[in-house]
Structures are given as structure tokens and as C-alpha cells.
Amino acid sequence: MYRFLQVALLGLFVIGCSLSAFSIKYRVNNTGVSADFTDLATAVASVVDGDILIVEHSNTPYNVAEVIINKKITIYGTGYYLPDNDETHADTRTSILGPINVTSVDVLLSGLTISDCRINADDVILERALINGSLEVGDAAPVSDVTVRQCFIEGDIATLISIDCSTIVFTNNFCHNESSTLGAKVVEMTVSSSGLILNNVFFGDDDLELHNVTLKNNIFEQVTVDVINSTSITASNNYAELAFLVNYQASNNIAYTDTMLDLLSFSRDAKYKTLPDYTSAGEGLEFGSFPYVLSGIPPIPAIWFYDGEPAGDDGGIDVIIKVKGRK
């Protein structure tokens, strides 16, 4: 009898695991065609933990007011700057979100264009996103284990504002603060934050305020670390400007030169790739565990060429189609 109970319990456990692993995928499309949802708020309100939302190509944002992501879900988008790079998507419209606030643990956001992103939960991954407003982590509650990777962050205020986030992993991102205000921060952390800052490109004025970080394999172009207000930094193997090297040159940090980036490239993000002559040391976006992905294409398959016939009949409808798997 005991053996039977063991087997039965094991069976129930397996069934339970299978059920919990089952996720349903839903489309979000606001262009007027048939889809599961037409706006982000309704989609998030309707799904359950474990589900996946695929936000599709459109010229219209999927939300205006802030949407709270309060479930353990995954949201995939289309990527961004789709016309700039080869073989991205046949439809070059992108999935544009207004402001969002992630309040649930275990959320993955990938391939989205977001105006303002707030992360206020543990174990959140934001990847391959175009942030053109602000990115704030832990502004409403202390959080930990937040990962921001492979993102293109360019706005008028600090690209990353970590209010209270311990062990943030910030890797393979492009960060540019476009503000012309003197003293504008590219990254701004508070003393209660900490984390890894690896393989990023920090671009433009002015500086980064960092606390409790390991700073490695990054490229600093016309930007440095605010050494007056920053605390507890271990910096090594970074390409950087002179102002940076004055403070950290002893730790294998190397002088930056504009010739190491492909700044003349047409592509808005490919121009920040490290040119081959400078790749031996492993600094820059395309190194590390999560190399930057051009246009932020998410890890789902993509149709990058589509030409459908205008008419069909009982014999079918012909389409010439080109597709890529993505990882």
C-alpha cells in the first residue's frame, strides 16, 4: 500500500508539474485585424501566470496610461529599428508600449519598445528593449535580482535609475542620455543598490553615479564615472576616456578611441558595435554571455520577407516567404 501511495503521489506531482508548465500564447494587435486582444491593459488583466503575450507590429502604442504587469508572464515584441538592419521583419512596424510598471516576480519582457519602464519586483528580466524614456528599478519597493540586458536605452533622463535594487545584472546595453543639461547622469544608482555592469556602451555626456558595482568590459565614450558621489566600484577591462582612466587606469582599463566603434554605420544600433581590430579584449556589446542582438529581435521565429498573391482560388493562395529562427 505504501508503495502504491508513493507511485500515486509521484504521478500527481508529475501531472502538477505538467500543468504548471503549460502556458497559453495570445496575440495582441491593435491594427484592426482579428486578434486575442487589442490593448496591453486588457491582455494583462485577462491572462494568468505562465502565459505569453505576443505584441505585434503596429504604428499605434498599445497603451497610453501606465500598465501594471502584476502576473508572472512573458511579453514578446517585434524588436526595434527594424529597417536599419538586414533580415529583421517583413513588417517594419514595431510593438510600442507606453509606460509600464512591473510589480510581479518572474516576468520576462523581450523585444519591446517602451516609453518608460519601472521594475518593482524581484527576478525580472528586461531584454532587447528600446527604452526611449526612463528605466527605473526599485523606485516603489526594494528589489533584487533584476536583469537588464541587450537593451538600447536612449532618453532625456538617466538611462538607468536604480533606486533600490541589489544585485542588478546590467549587461550588453547601449546607454545614452540625450539631455544637454550639465551634470545629467547616464546611469544613476543610489547607495542601497548594487550589481554587475558588464559589456555595455555608455555614450555621451555626462557621467554615471554608481554604488557597489563590478564594472567590467564596458566602453565609455565621452562619459565617465562620477567619482565624487560614487562608492564601492571595482572597475577593470573597460575602454574609457581619460577622465575615467585617471581614476581606474591601474585595473587594465584602456584608452578609448572613436575608431573602435563603427560610428559611420547607417544602422542606429550597429554603429556601436566594436570593430574587429578592438575585439580581442572582450569589451563591448557583442561579448559576454548575452551578446547584443541587432534590432532587439526577440528569441521567437520571425518572418522577414512576405509577398502574398492578391488572389487565390480553390488551388490555394501563393506566398513567397522567408523566415528565420531566433535565439
Binding site: 496575440r27 517585434t78 557597489n212 482560388d313 501563393d318 529562427g325
Partner: protein, 570 residues
């Protein structure tokens, strides 16, 4: 494991482990501790060993909410050390407490445990059946001394949760029990009539520099001095004595011996130094938990004891210390780390360490314990030395095994070391799957939901380029006229891409585009369009008459078909 590890550490001069007789207990099976069960540690211990009952960090996969170390029986002269209590109110700065101390449900000291100590622990019930037991800086819900002599209770916070269950029961008829610098009280309101001390059978127990709160004392023949009795009265005072105490309500017994002979053996043989004062005059009332009993700067308790110290548990020498942090050694009050390592840097570890002694935390040291193998690798440690440090440690992954445990501790500038914190790590070796394409999913006009459409399988590869003819003669297929074809692609990893669509004209069976070349010149152009308009709105049949969709009327449906082929040669 510790015996094998010890020579490595000594060889490297890293005295992380001061004694092989320190046994670590942690409920998390991946913690790397010596035991996951406290009773097993007790059973395995030898006389003089120290057993550390570790707290659970909130960041582990383990849910510490209902965790406990169970019921324990101690029959050896050992020391059991916990992690403190009331940590969230201990005034350790603005850092969120991330450790959950794990309670002992019950602990019983039996024959053989003479000389044993319980320190810094949370124990819901403590029962003593032998002599010479020491309770030091513990949080206890109920203490019962059944037999034995010479129990020493110091710096403890003993708090009954039930009005009918005294916080302390003294049943033993043997003497020598001493309570000092401790709190004994009831968590509820005084009006519930709780008994917080029941000692009618014991002679000669001493209560010195204690706080009693929210209940009555059945004192028997025991001695209470230098104590604050908050909202409590005295009963069963037999041969006992009350000297140099502060009362906040009338204790019923006569505080001052009417004969003027203190401690003369009379029924009310009390010292005239006892006082009745207002509670608002005693306490600072600026905290919660044990901090609520701190004295205000004008308190009548200040320096009023018979030894010149403050009356009550908070004194200048040997004082009760909040949260049981009566060790001078540093303590980790926050530890955050990633459960699964995905970058080249193995582990970002965020820590907050506090030094109760006020010494400056000067060094964080760590080692790796992967199956008894010591590995030293490059690390990056940053913090500003202070008595409360927030720092960060990250470790290069290259030399590390796929999984293991990191032991970390802190040292202050007096050389005092914290206890160990154990951090399990695991590299994420999950391969990134090749995104082999699997099929096209398609449907017409209305999305049946992802996974519910029609499928055309394609050869598994990372790329596909070619012409696909999507069938139309299917359930849910197009109807004559304008339709929308939706297509999305799936891969073998359950990935589904965005959905593409295009509008098209579905032509009736047998329809020949040559019909649109009404003037027969081999090209479908403007002259054909003018001819088509002549048929428009007429109820006539036949392709040659502009009824391209063969529905018996020439209307916009036919116009859309015409426009589909407009500008083409036939």
C-alpha cells in the same frame, strides 16, 4: 565535510573555521551546512561542541515562513546558538531585514545536559529537568523549570502568548535559579489577568534587573530586586522579598514594611526603596518589541538600583541587548544573490553586515566548498569600512565547478568574526536551443487562437526561404470575395512568431481572369474598366458580363476582383 576542509583552510591561512566542533545546521538542503536537522546535530555532537542553528535568507528558493527546527531533546553539555530575534525592529538602519530566524518549537534539557547553554535562539517552549542550564539572550514563549537547580537566565525575552499560560513557571524545589537582565511578560493587555510568573514552590530564586509586564507575579519565597513591574501585581508572597523595584500600579502587597525592618521575614518584609511611579515617567516609548522598554532620560529608574545601576533590564553593565544580539561579533543582516548564474561573473552577492559592538567591519572573506574541494579564484569585493556596511562581492566563474557552496563571513577590526553564511550556486548550463523552424500555422479571417489553426510543416532548419501555397479548401477556408490570410511560424522550441496577414480575393471555382479583359486586347486596363461599369448594379450572371464572383449580380465584390487584376496582361 568540515574535517576534510579544515586542513585546506589552515594551509592557506584562512581561519574561517575556528573549531572543528562547530556544527552548522540549516534547513535548506543545498546550504552546505553540516546538518539539515537540529536533533541530528545534537545526537552527533560531543561535549563542548557548539551547534549553530542558521537563519534562512529570504532570497533562497526555500520558503522560510513555516520553517522550524522542531522539538529537541538535549542530553549533552553543548551550546546551541541561534540567529537572534526581533531583527526587523532592532534599529539596524534602513535596510530591509532579509533573514528569517528559524524557531525551535520546543527544547527540553534532560539528564546529561548539565552545563548546556541555549543562546540567541527563538524557542517557543523551554523545559528544564536538570541543573546548571544557561539561557542567554533567547526569545522564549514559555519557560518551565521542572527540576534541577542553578538555572541561569540572562538577557532573555520571555513572553507568554496566552493569559492562562505563565511566561515562567518554577516548579523545582531546588534553589539557585537566577534571572537577570531579562524581560518576563504577557503579550496581551494587563486587564486579562495573566499570571506571568508562577513560583510558589521554589525557594531562593533571584530576579535581578528584570522587567515584568502585563500580568501578576505569584512570587512565593523568592527575591525580586532592581526590577520594573509594569502593570502587574504581587500574589503568594510568602518568604520572598521585594527591594528597589518600580511599580506602575498598586501591587496589593505592602511595599514598605510598616515595621520599618526590611527583609526581616515578615509577611510583608519589603524594602522601603520600592516605589510606585507612572509608567510614562519610566519608559521612552519610542520603539516596539524589546525597544519599548528602554528608559527615558529622566526616568526614575536611572541609577536607582541597589548596585548603582539602572533599575530594570536596560543597564549600563551587562545590559539586556535588543534582539539577542549580545555577541560582539558582526552579524549579516542582509544577503542577496542570484540563485542561478548566467554571466561570466559567478555570483553577485550583495551584503549588509552590522557590528553590534560598534567595531568597524574591515574584511569580508569567502571560500568555495564544492564537494570538499577548496578553490580560490579572483574576486571583486567593495565596501566602505564601518560598523554598518553595505557591500558587494562578485566572483569570476572560470575556476569554479558547475555547482557548489560559497561560505562568506565578516571580520571587524578587532578580529572578531561573524558566523558563516552559506550561498549555494549553480551555473546555468542550459544550452541555448537551436531555433529550428517547424511549421507555418495559418488561418483565414478569424484567429482561432495560437495553436488552433492549420499547419504546414517545413524542414527543420534555422532558415526557410521559398514559395508556399496555402490551401483554401479547408474548414474555415475563404469565401468568394475579399479575405485575409494570416500566417505565423513556429519552431521546435515552442516558439511562435508574430502573425502576418494579407488581404486577397478568393475567386469562385472556375473563374478565369481572362473575363476581366472585356475588350479582348490581352490587357486589363481602363477600357475594360469602362466596359465593366456598364454592367455595374445589374442582376446578370456570367463571368463575361462582369459577374466575376458568379453570384448573379454585378457589385462591389466583382469590382474588387476586377481591381485585383487591373494592369495585368492575360
Amino acid at each position: 565535510m568540515m574535517k576534510k576542509l579544515f586542513p585546506f583552510l589552515c594551509f592557506l591561512g584562512l581561519a574561517l573555521y575556528s573549531e572543528a566542533a562547530d556544527l552548522l545546521v540549516n534547513l535548506n538542503p543545498t546550504s552546505g551546512a553540516d546538518f539539515n536537522n537540529a536533533q541530528s546535530a545534537i545526537d552527533a555532537a560531543n561535549t563542548g561542541d557548539i551547534i549553530y542553528l542558521q537563519a534562512l535568507p529570504m532570497s533562497t528558493l526555500f520558503n522560510p515562513a513555516d520553517a522550524n527546527y522542531g522539538n529537541l531533546v538535549v542530553n549533552k553539555q553543548i551550546t546551541i546558538v541561534g540567529h537572534g530575534y526581533f531583527l526587523e525592529t532592532a534599529g539596524l538602519g534602513n535596510y530591509e531585514e532579509s533573514f528569517t530566524p528559524v524557531p525551535i518549537i520546543g527544547i527540553q534539557f534532560v539528564s546529561g545536559s548539565q552545563g548546556a547553554t541555549l543562546r540567541n535562539a527563538i524557542a517557543l517552549e523551554v523545559e528544564i529537568l536538570t541543573s546548571n542550564i544557561t539561557l542567554e539572550s533567547d526569545y522564549i514563549n514559555g519557560l518551565r523549570i521542572v527540576s534541577g537547580a542553578n538555572t541561569a537566565v540572562t538577557g532573555c525575552y520571555i513572553e507568554s502568548q496566552l493569559a492562562e499560560a505563565p511566561a515562567v513557571v518554577l516548579e523545582s524545589s531546588l534553589s539557585g535559579h537566577v534571572f537577570s537582565y531579562s524581560f518576563i511578560g504577557y503579550i496581551g493587555t494587563p486587564s486579562e489577568g495573566a499570571i506571568i510568573l508562577s513560583a510558589p514552590n521554589t525557594n531562593g530564586a533571584e530576579f535581578n534587573h528584570c522587567n515584568f509586564a502585563n500580568g501578576n507575579l505569584y512570587l512565593g519565597s523568592n527575591f525580586v530586586h532592581n526590577c520594573i513591574i509594569f502593570e502587574g501585581q504581587i500574589g503568594w508572597l510568602q518568604e520572598g522579598a521585594l527591594n528597589n523595584n518600580l511599580f506602575t500600579i498598586d501591587p496589593i502587597v505592602t511595599l514598605v514594611d510598616p515595621l520599618g525592618n526590611p527583609q526581616d521575614g515578615s509577611a510583608v518584609n519589603n524594602d522601603p526603596t520600592n516605589q510606585l511611579v507612572l509608567a510614562t515617567e519610566i519608559f521612552a516609548a519610542n520603539g516596539e518589541g524589546d525597544l519599548q522598554w528602554e528608559l527615558q532620560v529622566t526616568s526614575p529608574a536611572l541609577n536607582a538600583g541597589d548596585d548603582g545601576q539602572n533599575i530594570g533590564m536596560y543597564t549600563s553593565i551587562n545590559s539586556y541587548r535588543p534582539s539577542g544580539l549580545n555577541e560582539d561579533v558582526p552579524i549579516f543582516i542582509e544577503l542577496n544573490y542570484l540563485d542561478l548564474i548566467t554571466t561570466e561573473i559567478v555570483l553577485p552577492i550583495d551584503f549588509v553586515v552590522f557590528s553590534p559592538s560598534g567595531n568597524e567591519i574591515s574584511l569580508i572573506q569567502w571560500t568555495v566548498i564544492p564537494d570538499d574541494l577548496f578553490v580560490g579564484v579572483q574576486d571583486y569585493t567593495t565596501f566602505i569600512p564601518s560598523d554598518l556596511v553595505h557591500g558587494f562581492l562578485s566572483i569570476d566563474v572560470d575556476a569554479l565547478p558547475n555547482a557548489g557552496v560559497i561560505a562568506i563571513n565578516a571580520i571587524d577590526n578587532a578580529g572578531l568574526e561573524s558566523g558563516f553564511q552559506f550561498i549555494p550556486f549553480q551555473k546555468d548550463n542550459t544550452p541555448i536551443l537551436t531555433p529550428n523552424l517547424q511549421s507555418f500555422e495559418f488561418f483565414y479571417n478569424t484567429d482561432p487562437g495560437i495553436g488552433n489553426g492549420n499547419f504546414i510543416d517545413i524542414e527543420q532548419s534555422t532558415n526557410f526561404e521559398g514559395a508556399i501555397t496555402f490551401p483554401t479548401l479547408i474548414t474555415g477556408g475563404p469565401t468568394v470575395g475579399q479575405n485575409t490570410l494570416f500566417v505565423r511560424v513556429t519552431d521546435a522550441n515552442s516558439g511562435v512568431g508574430t502573425t502576418y496577414y494579407h488581404e486577397f480575393q478568393f475567386l469562385a471555382n472556375g473563374f478565369n481572369p481572362d473575363c476581366c479583359d472585356i475588350d479582348g486586347d490581352g490587357f486589363i486596363g481602363s477600357s475594360d474598366f469602362l466596359n465593366f461599369l456598364q454592367f455595374f448594379s445589374q442582376q446578370i450572371s456570367g463571368c463575361e458580363n462582369g459577374d466575376f464572383n458568379l453570384d448573379g449580380i454585378v457589385d462591389t465584390g466583382d469590382l474588387l476582383i476586377f481591381l485585383t487584376f487591373y494592369g495585368t496582361s492575360v
